[in-house]
Structure formats: structure tokens, C-alpha cells
């Protein structure tokens, strides 16, 4: 580094032992990356390429499919199924908002008020994962069953009148209505909202709350001006982790909904597995992906998370 009066002669002697390991060392990160890269290649890039080619094929199962660059499939699929697209975004959006409203107070409580109960509460948040997704969703079928205690209670309290008026339920039942699907989505994705929220809230130095209070901010203002802005990274990642999988979900609509509540996931599933129209199914998948990508990009730009620490 510094200029020294050392003779240049010893330098070439000293260089080889230093040089050799450095080449090997430089390759180490790539070796370590290799499994991950292979994984992505085999399970992400190749299927994507395969799907992309499928989406521009024409043909039938009997005659076989050929790549004909038939982009018309995209337009046809979109115009035929746009109600399901809209419904997916609406249901996923509603579920995301509900998750945020339910999850934020809970994450706040765990991060700031739980004391020694913190770890127990966190375990309880992820406890549902110990049971299969399917079983849990089926359990909701029982919970929301016609003339079950939940529906009875909602009826007595005239909650169902309100939800019917909103178009979320029909008559005196919850099952097979949009409400049931949204409830299922909210329930299933709630932990994905709570955990990132908790992580970003937990990182906030409580002395910032004291400082805000000291500078004449009421507790409500402190929340609005300090806590909430600082939890934005958690809000953004929580809503993304909820919204993205919820918009492609089909299990909740399948088990808790009816034909009137079919989401785009259900359409793709039946195109693939029942109707066996692979090009349409692939095109629908790509359209969904494009819509979600565009929405997420706009959302992240808007939320301005790169500005946060």
C-alpha cells in the first residue's frame, strides 16, 4: 500500500503463493451459488420457458400441440375470463386489507407490549402451519356451515343483512358466498402479514416513541408520524406476501365458494386438469403474472420503500 524502499527482487518470489489461492478463492462464491442457480434453472426458468412456448401453441390433445405463435390465445383468454381476473384481484385485495387491519394491531402488541409472552405469541401465530393448508380450509367449511353457531350468531346480530346488502352473502348462508372465500383467504394468509409487520415494528427503537412524546406528539400522532412510517417496509412486504399468493389462490374458492365465486386460479386449474386446453391455461397464467407484476411495481414505487432505512 505504502511506498517502501524494499528491493523489487523478492516480489516475484513472494507473488506465486499469494496469487494461486486468490484465483481459487475468487471462484468459491460461484461454487456456493451453483446449487441455487441449478435449482432456479430447473424449477423456475425451464418451466417458464416451457409455459411460454405452450401459450403460443395450437392444436388438440389428439393431434398434438405445435408452436404456431398464435398470440390470439392471450386476447381470447383475457376477454373470456376477465370477470374472474377482476374477482381475483378484488378478493385478494379485500383479504389483504383485512389481514392488514387484523394483523397490524396484533404485530404491534407482540412487538411492544407482549413482554415475556412475545415468543409464545409468535409461535401461536405460526402454529396453524403445523396443519395442512387443505385441512385448515376444510375446517372453515365446518365453521361456516349453514345453521352452524357462527352463521346463527351473524344472523341474530343482523350482520348477514349488511353483508347481503354489500353483495358478499346471499340469504342466510355464508358458505359458497364471496364472504366465505375472503374469510378463508384472510385466515390462510394472516401469518404472512403478521410476521413481516412484527419484524419491522420490533426493529423500531422505543426511545423514538419517547422522543416523539417529548416533542409534544400525542400517542396517536406518534403512531401516525413515527411508528407507522417506520413500519412501512413491513407493511409493503406483508401486503405483497398476502396479495400475490392470494390473487393466484384457488383452494379457498374451490372449497368455500361456489361457481359464482370462481377466481382465476380455479379457471387455470380447470383449463389444465379438466378441459386440457394447455395454451389457454398457460396464457392465463402469464396474464395473471403480468397484472400482478405491474400492480406490485406501481405499489412499491408509490410506497417509496427505498427511502426507508
Amino acid at each position: 500500500m505504502t511506498a517502501t524502499a524494499a528491493p523489487p527482487a523478492p516480489a516475484p518470489e513472494a507473488e506465486p503463493p499469494v496469487h494461486k489461492p486468490s484465483v481459487r478463492k475468487r471462484l468459491v462464491p460461484y461454487w456456493l451459488l451453483l446449487p441455487g442457480i441449478l435449482w432456479l434453472l430447473v424449477f423456475f426458468v425451464l418451466p417458464m420457458a416451457y409455459q411460454a412456448s405452450t401459450s403460443v401453441q395450437t392444436g388438440s390433445l389428439e393431434e398434438g400441440f405445435q408452436v404456431t405463435w398464435h398470440f390470439q390465445t392471450y386476447w381470447d383468454a383475457f376477454t373470456e375470463y376477465y370477470p374472474q381476473f377482476l374477482r381475483s384481484l378484488l378478493y385478494a385485495g379485500t383479504a389483504t386489507v383485512l389481514c392488514l387491519l387484523l394483523g397490524y394491531p396484533l404485530a404491534y402488541l407482540i412487538a411492544f407490549r407482549a413482554g415475556r409472552w412475545r415468543n409464545l405469541l409468535l409461535i401461536l401465530v405460526i402454529a396453524p402451519f403445523f396443519t395442512s393448508f387443505l385441512i385448515r380450509t376444510l375446517a372453515w367449511k365446518t365453521i361456516l356451515a349453514d345453521s352452524g353457531p357462527v352463521v346463527e350468531a351473524l344472523n341474530t346480530l343482523h350482520v348477514l343483512d349488511v353483508t347481503s346488502w354489500l353483495g358478499m352473502t346471499e340469504g342466510e348462508r355464508v358458505l359458497a358466498t364471496p364472504l366465505a372465500v375472503v374469510c378463508g383467504l384472510t385466515y390462510n394468509f394472516l401469518p404472512f402479514m403478521i410476521l413481516p409487520l412484527y419484524t419491522s415494528l420490533e426493529r423500531i427503537d422505543t426511545r423514538l416513541h419517547e422522543a416523539a412524546g417529548d416533542l409534544y406528539a400525542t400517542p396517536a400522532t406518534t403512531f401516525r408520524k413515527v411508528t407507522f412510517p417506520l413500519s412501512m417496509p413491513g407493511v409493503v412486504s406483508g401486503t405483497l406476501l398476502t396479495f400475490i399468493p392470494a390473487s393466484g389462490d384457488y383452494v379457498n374458492a374451490e372449497l368455500l365458494g361456489s361457481t359464482d365465486t370462481r377466481m382465476i386460479g380455479n379457471v387455470i386449474q380447470s383449463q389444465y386438469l379438466r378441459i386440457l386446453d394447455y395454451p389457454t391455461a398457460a396464457a392465463l397464467s402469464f396474464i395473471l403474472m403480468a397484472i400482478v407484476l405491474i400492480m406490485v411495481t406501481i405499489y412499491i414505487r408509490r410506497a417509496g420503500t427505498e427511502d426507508l432505512v
Binding site: R207, L208, E210, A211, G213, D214, L215, Y216, T218, L308
Partner: protein, 382 residues
Amino acid sequence: MTDKTAGGDVRLTGISKHYGSFTAVHPLDLTIPQGSFFALLGASGCGKTTTLRMIAGLEEPSTGTVRLGEQEVTHLPPYKRPVNTVFQSYALFPHMDIFENIAFGLRRRGIKSVKKQVDEMIELVQLGEHARKKPHQLSGGQQQRVAVARALINHPQVLLLDEPLGALDLKLRRQMQLELKRIQTEVGITFVHVTHDQEEAMTMADTVAVMNGGRVEQLGAPADLYENPRTTFVANFLGTSNLIEAAVESAGDQVVVSAAGTTLRLPGARCSTTPRTGGKLLVGVRPEKLSLVPADEEHTIAAGRNKVTGRITASSFIGVSTQFVVDSPVCAELEVYVQNIERDARLTPGTEVVLHWNPEHTFGLDAAQDIDAGTETVEEGA
């Protein structure tokens, strides 16, 4: 918000704080005069920060009242008190730039046009070009000044400083001490400063309260505390003291004591306890008051001075002074600081010496106390 009329003192009456069975602050009465620079000094865990937080409203006292001028604020939440705090870790809002951090208090009080005031404050703390930066882009010293500006802009009745210089390196710390003192003189606001650094407390404050174990040990002007400590804790915590255990031979205006066969004198007025003939007394003297001569020059010492013989066991050259440790019959480790005006080459470890000092520079303490109180805790919590 600001009450600049007379009687803006901070008055703590019988305030205490318990956490379960632990008492952080014992019932405490304290009056902090308006416009003063007041320091709460003590080792970590002595209750100084808790006391500060009770004034700020961040901690509710278990008993007692807090008054700011005529207003009782004991149960007011922090956002309703005319006090502001500079936090130990600064607690700047990381998502806001410097301008917004400083404007925060004004905006919360509904003041719309903050630009002029904030700009002035940014100038006062010399951060002009950093107004639009985020806190993490600034150095520790700059962040510290933002924290001061953010509090001062509200013209609080009292500014509370919780170890505000703790995170800075020594040089910057000295600089900021002078800076804070300058600002305090300029704005005339009461500053209450919590610190564990005795030098910092003495340089900055008009009045220092030395706290130990949740109580105020002694309160007074820095020079007064230093010259006339009333407890062994204060004597040892503020600077260094040589404490000698001695038996009282005669009391009165002039107290005569003897320790290990050596007779020492001190003024009766400088005893914090009433010495009784036949009783015990701790005799103290500061290391810089002592003079040191080789044993064979004892005849050069003027009459009437206190004299102690001994042998140098260690010496360390500090630059402005040399610090000697002298083993003597009266005390195994007497510390002596000698100014390096003319260095006597004979004063090396092993040399037999005579220490002498003016009896007026001696103080007397109650012998019932722990002689080592306050010696080990000085750098704790730094």
C-alpha cells in the same frame, strides 16, 4: 409555552421511584434554579437518569411531586410538559431529514411556518449544508447537535440532557461541552445534565448534585464540592483524595490528629462532622496540594506544615505533571501530583521522601464511612 418570569425553578419534592422491591431513587428534594446549568453526577445505576426521566414525564414517580415554576406536572404526560430532552442515543427520527427532525416539535404544536425558525436553529448548531440529509448520513457529533437543536427550538422551560456526550470521542466531547455551555449562556434556558463523567459535570455546570445509591450525596458549586467534600464518596468520586484514618487528639478551631505516630493539623471548620477528642476522623487531602522533597531536605520545609514521611513506590509522567504513589506509615498509597516545572531527578521509585502541605488544605470526614466509597465506579457505564 415559555414562562420566563421569576419562579421558573424546577422543584422536586419527596420524589422517589420503586421498581417492585428495588428503589431506584429514594425520596428526594431538589430545587433547580431557573437559568442554571445543573448537573446530576453519579455512576450508572445511581438513579440520576431516573430522576431526569421523572422531570421529563417519561417515568412516573412512586411518591412526591414535580413542579415547573408554579405548575405542578407530576402526572402530566411528556407531550404536555414544557420540557424537552436530548436523549443519550439522540433518538433522531431515521425516516425524516435533519430539517424535519428539528421542525418536529414546532409542527406538533400546530405552528405552520417553521422554515425561518428551523433555518436559524440549523445555523446555530452549524449544520447549514446538511438540512436535507438523513440522520444516518451524519457523524456522531453532528447527530448530537441535531438532537440539541431539535429540543432547543421549542424554547422549553427546561432542557434535559441524558448523557448527551457519552457516545462521542474525547476530543469531540471537550468541544461539545464548550459548545453546550455557550448555547446555554446564549439562550438562558435551565439545563439539567445527567452524566457519569465528573470532569464534564465540573466543566459545564454551575451546580452539581452528586448521586449515589438513589440519594443525593452532596450538592454545590463544582469548586465547593471538590474542595469541601462531605462524604468519602464525593471525595473519591470527584477527582482523587488521599484519605488517612486518624485519632483526634484535640478538637476546636484547630483540630490535631495523629495517625501512625504522625501528628497532623486541620481547621475545625473544614470537618463535615464534629470531631471529638479521642474519637476517629478521616483526614483528606487532594494529591495536587501535596509537595514532595527527598528525605534529606526535610529541614527546608517551612514550619507549621503537615508532614508525612514515606517512600516512592511508583511514578508516572503525564506531561503537565508527574504522579507519584508514596508508601507511608499513615496510608499505603498516598497519591501526589507534582507540576513539571523543574523536575527533580532524584524522585524515583525507592527514594525516601517527605510529603508536606498546608494544614488549611486538609478536610475532615466522618470516620464511620467506607473509606473506599466511590473509588471503583468512576468509569462504569461509559
